[in-house]
Assembly symmetry: C2
Homo-oligomer: 260 residues x 2
């Protein structure tokens, strides 16, 4: 945990590392107390329906910043940063299909692009750790496990799909504390949406996440599930929109905004 | 206060009265505890920038519902209602100019229209009255006074302008209670943005509101100011957009949603 970059690194330092391509890694455990963000980039003609999808589904899609058309600078959450380079890993979608993962967007950027930054649950992991709650994927050096549920989002035209959740295993008393802590982070998905039986929300095998890595669940622990900013990636896949770019799950944009 | 319609009327009853054109009046004091909403209607091509304006200015513009393109039914907050007829009074804007006030939109509706409903401070007046706080414009049978301040909103392309506020006079101890009560209504502008000196926020004469009516302020009272959903009307005027429709200030859409 003490090698660079780590939880005490500044957002500027870490974005610089990603910009020069020196490292590619999930951003969990980096820059404690700074809001991390999911990225969605779409052509302007799709921007209204996507923003409406976010407005109708604020739990998975809390909007932190939307760039001006054609600009890659997130002026509200990180003035001077560049969304084309400052994330570790990106996904390119064509006609709803994932076609490529890339470490920058310099060859892909277009004048009609609008970029959306949505809050991420990594933002409340430092406060959880500060309260002596375990964050298993950080303990085990992995990406957080994420699952597609059977809970439908409210659609907006062609953007539609089921809620994606992230999972952290906790004992019941820890889960109660985690509800208290995370409910204060409404711009980072807030309180959990479920705990216990994964089948209830349509997860058939907790050891086979749809995104990220598996983590250990101890005998005295239950899985606790939070709404996840990968939800729009599923909606983009379902929509079949001709072109979209997102961050790669777990590989977030780190903002200059303190989470609390 | 006991003539029909009044504070115990249902939203359905009152919308029916407005639909048939039987009455035209401000909606303050009607249908206690139901969320009331500001209306903005724009052609689809302007919808993204307007929704972005709301996202960037959530205090004056808390989005409650956005209709599908071409539909006048607010499916989330009042299924079955019709936004073309169910408000008492509408304003038609052409090239940013107010050109007409009408009691229905049957001759104006177009297939490319998108309607936005934004929360309104009338929603927290019943809880204020229940806590024995005075709501002066209801006591005096008037529309709430509204003022254009010198506080700039965060612009979104052509939508830009200063914050509009509504005002209710209260004693300091009542103002403190009002902060406690209204801060719970984040979808109805929430806590006040200012109290006391009107000049501080650019209001030169408290007895000359920009919208609505004047109300009495007693010697032991201070004016208390809340963000107001008329703010987008100023942004529409400034934008010079070729066509827009709004409610007439104080003449709101009454939803089926309980405010608390």
């Amino acid at each position: 945990m003490n090698s660079f970059p780590n939880q005490t690194s500044t957002p500027q330092e870490v974005r610089e590392l990603f910009r020069t391509g020196e490292i590619v890694r999930p951003t969990t455990g980096l820059c404690d107390n700074y809001l991390q963000a999911n990225l969605v980039i779409l052509p302007e003609k799709l921007a209204f329906n996507f923003l409406l999808f976010c407005q109708r589904n604020p739990k998975p899609c809390p909007v932190l910043d939307v760039t001006d058309v054609g600009s890659s600078e997130p002026k509200i959450v990180a003035p001077g940063a560049d969304l084309r380079t400052d994330l570790p890993l990106y996904r390119i979608f064509k006609n709803g299909e994932l076609v490529e993962e890339v470490t920058d967007l310099l060859n892909y950027w277009q004048d009609d692009f609008v970029a959306f930054l949505l809050g991420c649950s990594f933002s409340f992991e430092a406060p959880m750790i500060a309260a002596n709650l375990p964050v298993r994927h950080i303990e085990e050096g992995r990406n957080v496990p994420m699952y597609i549920t059977n809970i439908p989002c409210e659609p907006a035209e062609n953007f539609a799909g089921n809620l994606v959740v992230s999972m952290r295993p906790l004992t019941p008393i820890q889960a109660i504390q985690a509800v208290e802590i995370t409910s204060k982070f409404s711009n980072a998905h807030g309180a959990p949406i479920h705990f216990g039986s994964p089948e209830t929300i349509g997860i058939s095998d907790i050891n086979q996440p749809d995104f990220g890595d598996t983590v250990s669940i101890n005998d005295d622990e239950v899985p606790v599930f939070w709404a996840c900013g990968v939800t729009p990636q599923v909606a983009i896949r379902n929509s079949g929109v001709e072109f979209a770019i997102t961050h790669s799950p777990g590989h977030m944009f780190i903002t200059d905004i303190k989470a609390n």
